[in-house]
Symmetry: none
Subunit: 377 residues, 2 copies
Amino acid sequence: MTEKQDRLALSLIAEPGDPRLRDLLEQHEPGRIVAAARSASGMRVPAVWRERALGIRTALDEVKARAKANDLRWLCPGDSAWPTSLSDLDHLEPLHGTAGAPIGLWIRGTGSLAQLCNESVAIVGARDCTTYGAESASELAADCTAAGFRIVSGAAFGVDGCAHRGALLMNKPTVAVLACGADVDYPAGHGALIAEIAKTGLVVSEQTPGAHPLKGRFLSRNRIIAALSQGTVVIEAAVRSGSLNTLNWADQLGRTTMALPGPVTSRQSSGTHEAIRSGKAVLVTNGKNVVEELRGLGAESSSPEAGPRTEFDRLPPAARRTLDGLDWSRGRSLTEIASGVRLTAREVLTSLDLLERRGLVVRFGVGWILARRADVG
Amino acid sequence: MTEKQDRLALSLIAEPGDPRLRDLLEQHEPGRIVAAARSASGMRVPAVWRERALGIRTALDEVKARAKANDLRWLCPGDSAWPTSLSDLDHLEPLHGTAGAPIGLWIRGTGSLAQLCNESVAIVGARDCTTYGAESASELAADCTAAGFRIVSGAAFGVDGCAHRGALLMNKPTVAVLACGADVDYPAGHGALIAEIAKTGLVVSEQTPGAHPLKGRFLSRNRIIAALSQGTVVIEAAVRSGSLNTLNWADQLGRTTMALPGPVTSRQSSGTHEAIRSGKAVLVTNGKNVVEELRGLGAESSSPEAGPRTEFDRLPPAARRTLDGLDWSRGRSLTEIASGVRLTAREVLTSLDLLERRGLVVRFGVGWILARRADVG
């Protein structure tokens, strides 16, 4: 077997992110560890690994079949698309029982992970975010995207989803790192969003295809989000929120740690404020701030993606705002759109008419839904 | 004449806060400077001082009459009620053409300024504040007052006024430092508030009674607000706002500099965010934060991050993983749990036993189900 195959077998034997795995990999080839788990003698490996190693051939067949059916690729260290930044994780102490670079990553989508993450920023935050958090996330993601950064997030409800959408609305790929198998739509309500992300960007997971998202796997996943990006921005996190865990990983990794403030009266911003207050994160209010933190002061103006104007850019302002008020997965009514984007019903109707003719939106039940991206011009 | 009288005369000859006055006072007694201004010979003093010195007797009589009519006292260095902290101003470089400790202060109200400012915090901010800024100011002032701090501010519309009111609502004195004479109600709409402040607290000014508030006098006044308090909190300041000038003074004085964040979409919080971002101010969200900054950590109860470990945290790792593998609604079999969380059946069984005894899981059909939450944070 190749090392790549050995790594795949190992990912089925041990729980990805298990610190014992990281420790063993420091001294042994993946193949040796697999062999040890399959034989009674040799190095000491946990009992559960031995148990699982017994059925490894069947498990491998099953996983390969599942991966093939779902168009998943197995990416490993050494592959050209493997982001070398991930190996920074090997030098850190375990956090919440997780440590080490992923053994490998399952990838849904066609792009190169290394290339997409070459200049990238993670935007994470509360699932139960406020409208303020949602809008801040979309806007920040769109601004960072426009400045040439790719957005990495966790595809969760709330801030994560809005961050991905902000990138997609700029017609740029985005990277979602899941806590379940890369073929599992979690949360189920984000199935359409995840599919949309995979179309131009990547859906990534260290978990076996089909794996369920367990609590520990979210914490484990967070280290990958942090390691794939040059910096992490937290938007709306209550104290002890999972996104602060991502911030901690970024901090440990020496990445740039940032947080967007909110009203002090908002519980959802309590964790972000605490992070800024304690010096764990730098306060950022907009994309310009983020770019300054990541590229250094004065860098922002020099490298905007000036490029040609996109189809989106060429739309009238009301139509652009109407697009902003639409969703990939859920139909929105005329009134709902109008109130969401602060346009009159008449303005929305005119805009929807234009957008429908351009094939950008379609009717969906009693409402409207996004049909495709406004392509680059 | 006593030095106190000399200082009074000097305050009528020179504009309070004039850096040249500070420089001369470093080398000469106040009386000598007055004498020099009145005689053609002696030390070099600005021409305008000589001009004013000509009418000094009449000016003194007028000011004394006005002060008497308005119950104003002239407070000077050496008086027991003089806050010695003001002399810190003598060591600073001029800022916006202002420098040095006040020559003296006119006081309206009966308390001791030194005593009131013994533990005090300045709360300043935008005149055109939002409802959010107004409420934050009142609340912060009330909380700091309850913690034993006296509030120092500028009696302006907006944040300043709300800060004073927050203190008054706690039935505690507060200190207003004006940019006009201490007997002048400015802004006029705050006449009642200023009178209320003077009843139990103090209204303070280095300006001559009856003096109008000129632009330069606001900047000059800000240094006194900063110097009278152990720390300054800015709430809502647009970029280039006057309250950031107070923050700068506090910074130069080595006082604690703090800022309360707001929505990033609010122009009124742009200056406060910039101050936090640049490291000029520490982010504070409430009175507890302010007290921690001023009295040191641990003065109040510990920060939330260090909070007590939850019931979940105290469980053994295998039991925590087992909990992760359980569901609220669907029973899971031993094998299912074990394979889901990658533990041996034996480890899961031991864990379930413990979790059942703690009332965290119950048997459900042939499987197991979550019984209650383990206070996960």
